[in-house]
Amino acid sequence: MSDFPQPAAVKPAEQGRLTRLWSSDFAWAFRHSPVAICSMAVVMLLVLAAVFAPLIAPHDPFNPATLNLMNGFTAPGTPNAFTGEQFWLGTDDQGRDVFSTILYGLRISLFVGFAAVLLALVIGVTLGLIAGYVGGWPETIIMRSADVQLTFPSILVALLIFGVAKGFTPVEYRDQVAIWVLIVAIGLSDWVQFARVVRGATLVEKNKEYVQAARLIGRTGPAIMLRHILPNVLSPVLVIATISLALAIIAEATLSFLGVGAPPTQPSLGNLIRIGQGFLFSGEWWILLFPACTLLALALSVNLMGDWLRDALNPRLK
């Protein structure tokens, strides 16, 4: 902002990267949007809580030695009738501290979400670049299969991939690989949006002069795609990645809730909600409510961030 009146021809390298970022249009839009700041804060808070879960959590919910069955069904904020211990958000049926299980569940949910989006991004961007730049029959095959996959809701595709992968793994390894299978299933079900957007942008970029110039000095196809076109199509990819993150987190929670996602040994937020649903009728509402609220806060703020990014990076709205 402060160096706005300076001529644009100042060598960019003389300013620090951070200063340049701070004075960009993008950062300005961020600083002036309360929704963006709030949702960013919520996401950062949840990510930090998940990363430092072992340090923050008052109990280790997966270490049976620290569990006391007598603590089961302690309501939030009130001391347990037998042991007198207090728990912020109460305990579940086995006496596990709900706050701690949420922190650890958040870890699994976020890890699966980020990893799945990363996988979808790598697949989708690669295929999109190839389809857009190379054209011809690779484009036909890639975009037709994208169309076919788009016909089916991604949750269904993820379910199928999960079921097939489960059939391939021997019973004794199923729990160990479940998280990775989940990541692959969600990632593979979600690449189409990336491929479509990147292809569209590549089709525009590849006729621009800088690409022609790169071709003239003899750079090869892969180098042009990665070093020249890719940096110029990244901003829509960023928007889709954010929106996909919200979808992936919800997809993970849904699969785990259906009992076909994360294994009981590594419960994610979806598993916790599944467990909590069982106690709804007997009145232990906290076992369900707090994981559900955490999931909702996470999904809503990532969604709002995606919406904001889309508006902020849309050149037509500037």
């Binding site: 949750i155 199928l160 097939v164 919800i250 259906l258 009992g259 909600i273 009728f281 909702l296 969604n303």
Partner: protein
Amino acid sequence: MIAYILRRVFQSAIVLLIVGLVAFSMFRFVGDPIDNMLGQERTMADVERLRVQLGLDQPFVVQYFKFLGNAAQGNFGVSYRQGRPVATIIRERAPATLELAAVSGALAIIVGIGLGVFTAIRRHGIASNLIMSLSLIGVSLPTFLIGILLIYLFSVELDLLPSFGRGETVMIGDWSTGFLTESGLKALILPSITLGLYQMTLIMRLVRSEMLEVLRMDYIRFARARGLSERLVNFRHALKNTLVPVITVTGLQLGSIIAFAIITETVFQWPGVGLLFINAVQFVDIPVMAAYLMLISVMFVAINLIVDLLYFAIDPRLRIDGRH
């Protein structure tokens, strides 16, 4: 236009062949079908007999087309877990899912279009703003949380509606219906709201934005200038012209209603095809998974095709220069 229709039909057929290949490969290569069907105690003679009976001794391509032929005749093999023909199980379960999907679809379309028109006409009203903010939360809420929330409110706290199952059903021929008994109708309410809510918000937002665009057009202003009543302008002139995109999205959403029924059926323990599929995934019951995959893709492909053809029926402009 006929060329276009033929090409679309041809494309749909190819998609179905590919899906059939996926379903067949699942059946053939995920685990050994013989192991799955015979279990531990068996003789080599049993194995050989079943191998010939299933046609597993023949070349892959022959097996594939045989599989497709059987599937086309409604023969999907025998469930590993229940030991009964998959077709029979699905026929028993289908009415539950179809009734649920029909009610939620109707709910989503009627309420969605109604609210969409309302929020577009009263753009700055308090009620419109409230509905729009609520719909944003509705889109972010995962389906299963909506279901749990409804169960908590109406079954646990208020004790008005049942929280699981279909209630009493009446058999009409092969079809078990919940429409004819009081408990059956009551049991439909919560699941169909859960299932239809997302689609409803989607349709509503779409109708609203399309209406807002159309209402700005000259011919609307002209219709008003001619002194036509507000109702005639809004519904006859404006709504009709928003219908093309609405029908596309609605059509495609009807397909997802059946797919998302998996989640709703799990929450409400609704004895439909979705619950059957989830149990099949949990227990790796491949014939059931393959059959579900085939059926649902036939449905999706058919819906897509119909939606594409409906364009021609609705939008006369396409009929004139309909050669893409």
